[in-house]
């Protein structure tokens, strides 16, 4: 069995009478991206602070790459890259100087450090702005530098705490692409957000956290199943609808088909619409349908959160 990059067990933390984190457990394997999705104040940042060794837990344990954070924090932190929610950069320093500084604190030196600085500047698209003071950067550029510092020492675990807050759509997309690339390189990523679309796009598994507790955890589809709702695919077009209905009904992912003859539409209940859509379209075309419109409707994590907590994600 592979050693998990991150193993969190029954983490607890209170501030005065308020229990902010109440028994959170998590496991992240190499190359896996796990999201912590929850509204503001749900306990995401406190959980991350304990995982990163910034805050001592009242109970529970954190192991990074098998190293206990409580008993050997320095060894555990060597495997960790933290991208805090705040723009944790020095405004007077350039991007290169910020990276070099934090690289030295990670124990990097000389040519290896210079090479790695150049690499991460390239990854986050700041090579052209490497020497200017970072206080002159746009919000998106500062966010990208913030992430670059977390990546610099090639950690086994990268923790991203709401890394796209206040970022323009273009920079957000660049950040999300970077994170996708990282998990492809085998890095384990813990990603907190209250943007469900980011969690859906990036995360292999998602933990939904509310009031300090992980109330559900799993893949997006398994979480959606908790709502009892499924994906819907609607095909609109011309052709022999009865034959087309019969053809698509034979696709395993298609659970139900409803024909609306007067409108020339077929409405299907589908398990995993994104994966099945190409087969559905090909089958319908093969059965003689000339498609005018294809529409996929999926229950999202917002509806999962609503289903589990009775309140909206952004309340």
């Amino acid at each position: 069995m592979t050693t998990p990059v991150l193993q969190v067990d029954a983490l607890r933390r209170s501030f005065g009478p308020a229990t902010v984190v109440d028994g959170v457990s998590l496991r992240i394997d190499p190359g896996e991206t796990v999201g912590l999705l929850g509204p503001n104040g749900a306990g995401k940042t406190t959980t991350i602070s304990m995982i990163a060794g910034l805050l001592r837990p009242d109970g529970g344990s954190v192991h990074i790459q098998g190293v206990d954070m409580a008993s050997d924090p320095l060894a555990a932190k060597r495997h960790l890259g933290l991208v805090p929610q705040d723009l944790a950069i020095y405004p007077e320093l350039s991007a290169r100087s910020n990276l070099s500084f934090f690289g030295r604190l990670q124990g990097m030196r000389g040519a290896a450090l210079r090479r790695r600085v150049a690499e991460v500047l390239e990854v986050v698209g700041l090579t052209d702005r490497a020497t200017g003071a970072s206080k002159t950067f746009s919000g998106g550029m500062k966010r990208r530098l913030n992430i670059a510092i977390g990546l610099l020492h090639e950690p086994r675990l990268l923790i991203l705490d709401e890394p796209t807050v206040g970022v323009d759509p273009q920079s957000r997309n660049a950040i999300l692409e970077s994170v996708e690339a990282l998990s492809g390189e085998g890095m384990a990523v813990l990603y907190t957000t209250h943007y469900m679309e980011e969690a859906e796009r990036l995360c292999d598994r998602i933990g939904i956290i509310d009031a300090g507790r992980v109330i559900a955890e799993g893949t997006r589809d398994s979480l959606v199943e908790l709502t009892g709702r499924t994906d819907t695919v609607t095909l609109a077009g011309d052709g022999p609808l009865e034959e087309i209905e019969a053809a698509v009904s034979r696709i395993p992912a298609v659970r139900e088909v409803h024909r609306i003859t007067g409108e020339g539409r077929l409405v299907m209940v589908v398990q995993g619409a994104p994966q099945a859509i190409s087969a559905i379209v090909a089958t319908a075309s093969g059965a003689g349908m000339t498609l005018r419109d294809v529409e996929i409707s999926r229950p999202d994590l917002e509806s999962v959160f609503l289903h589990l907590t009775g309140k909206a994600l952004r309340d």
Binding site: G53, L54, Q85, A88, L105, Q106
Partner: protein, 389 residues
């Protein structure tokens, strides 16, 4: 520990890039030194020599004693006593040939012995200056003593003493003169001249701002988020405050050293002593000032709060330490308020200016060491943010 130096180096580099340290650590204090020097130094200069004309009856014993007392004031003010006719005194004053005239009436000693209250008049020019004030005060003091002695003799005579014995006492008193003499006092910090005190006071006062650039950066970095990032690094967490303390210390030593050097070069008559001994003093005083900043960093939550707290502390310690004017250190409260880096710098520079060496500085160094320990312990124990302290 090499990574501590990396943090210190980065901190210092950022301070240089930010340039605030040059404004608040050097430019402003130098400007204030210059202004205070213009305002206060002339007021605190040594008294000018003064000529006093004494007009009185010839061969009168107490008149002679009064003249001798004035003539013997050289420790406080250089007085030259001349004899003059009472009628000439106004002219001499108007011509500026004398700084004061003392007019003693005929039969002065006899009148005093008889228990009367003969009037001695002191004539001064329109602007008598401090020298005239001193002459007046001395004449007043001597006359009070004469009167007291005469009254004591009269009482003794009433109680049965022989007139010859009483006269002998009066004669002896006249011969010996007043028992209290004027002298210019010099405690340790008063060995500094007025300008030296201004330079030392302003350097000490602004030191309490300069050291904030390092340690109070902890509060700023909390807000930036860089403190969290530093604490997530594979380094012992106490290295972070240590590096900030070292940054403060380096900034404080350099800025205060430059201020003292600039003060010595820019102003006349500023001689603070051996640079090597001053350097030892600076290392200790700056460490004490830095330790105070840790307490502020611990109890404040925002950079704004820290700035306000630092200003209050600097003004309180600056004023009680004599950065703006000399203060009394009497009583328990006075003694407590004197235990601060500004006072230590002033006292230490007083010792170095007087030619003292490192051994002579021992009490000051011990006091600053005590401050360091006390403030660091307070910073650890006082309730507040526990992320780094």
């Amino acid at each position: 520990m090499g990574r501590v130096l990396v943090m210190v180096g980065s901190d210092l580099r950022q301070q240089v890039l930010d340039r605030s340290i040059f404004i608040f650590g050097l430019a402003v204090p130098l400007a204030l030194m210059w202004v205070f020097s213009l305002i206060f130094a002339p007021l605190a200069q040594d008294l000018e020599p003064v000529t006093v004309a004494v007009s009185g009856p010839a061969e009168d014993p107490l008149t002679g004693t009064l003249a001798e007392t004035l003539d013997g004031l050289d420790d406080a003010v250089d007085v030259t006593v001349v004899e003059a006719d009472a009628a000439d005194v106004p002219t001499l004053l108007a011509d500026g040939e004398i700084g004061a005239g003392v007019l003693v009436p005929d039969g002065f000693s006899a009148a005093l012995a008889a228990g009367d209250a003969p009037q001695v008049r002191v004539r001064l020019p329109e602007s008598p200056g401090l020298e005239g004030e001193v002459v007046t005060a001395v004449v007043d003091g001597v006359l009070r003593q004469f009167t007291a002695t005469a009254r004591t003799a009269a009482a003794a005579e009433e109680l049965g003493g022989q007139p010859q014995e009483v006269d002998a006492v009066l004669a002896e008193d006249a011969a010996t003169g007043p028992s209290v003499r004027w002298a210019q006092g010099e405690t340790a910090d008063e060995q500094l001249s007025a300008r030296e005190s201004i330079v030392a006071g302003q350097a000490g006062f602004f030191l309490l701002f300069t050291v904030g650039f390092g340690v109070l950066g902890l509060v700023v970095e909390r807000e930036w988020g860089t403190l969290a990032r530093l604490l997530s690094m594979p380094i012992p967490s106490w290295w972070v405050p240590l590096s900030k303390g070292l940054s403060s210390w380096v900034l404080g030593v350099v800025a205060t050293g430059v201020l003292l050097l600039a003060g010595s070069l820019l102003f006349d008559d500023v001689h603070l002593g051996s640079p090597a001994v001053i350097a030892v003093l600076l290392l200790a005083v700056v460490a004490a000032a830095t330790s105070i900043m840790f307490v502020i960093a611990k109890v404040t939550r925002t950079a704004e709060q820290a700035g306000v707290a630092q200003t209050i502390v600097a003004i309180t310690l600056g004023m009680s330490g004599g950065a703006f004017f000399r203060v009394s250190s009497e009583g328990v409260l006075g003694t407590v308020l004197q235990l601060n880096p500004v006072t230590a710098l002033g006292r230490g520079l007083g010792i170095t200016a007087g030619g003292g060496g490192v051994v002579d500085l021992a009490p000051v160094l011990a006091a600053t060491g005590l401050m360091c320990v006390a403030m660091t312990a307070l910073a650890v124990l006082v309730p507040g943010r526990r992320d780094v302290l």
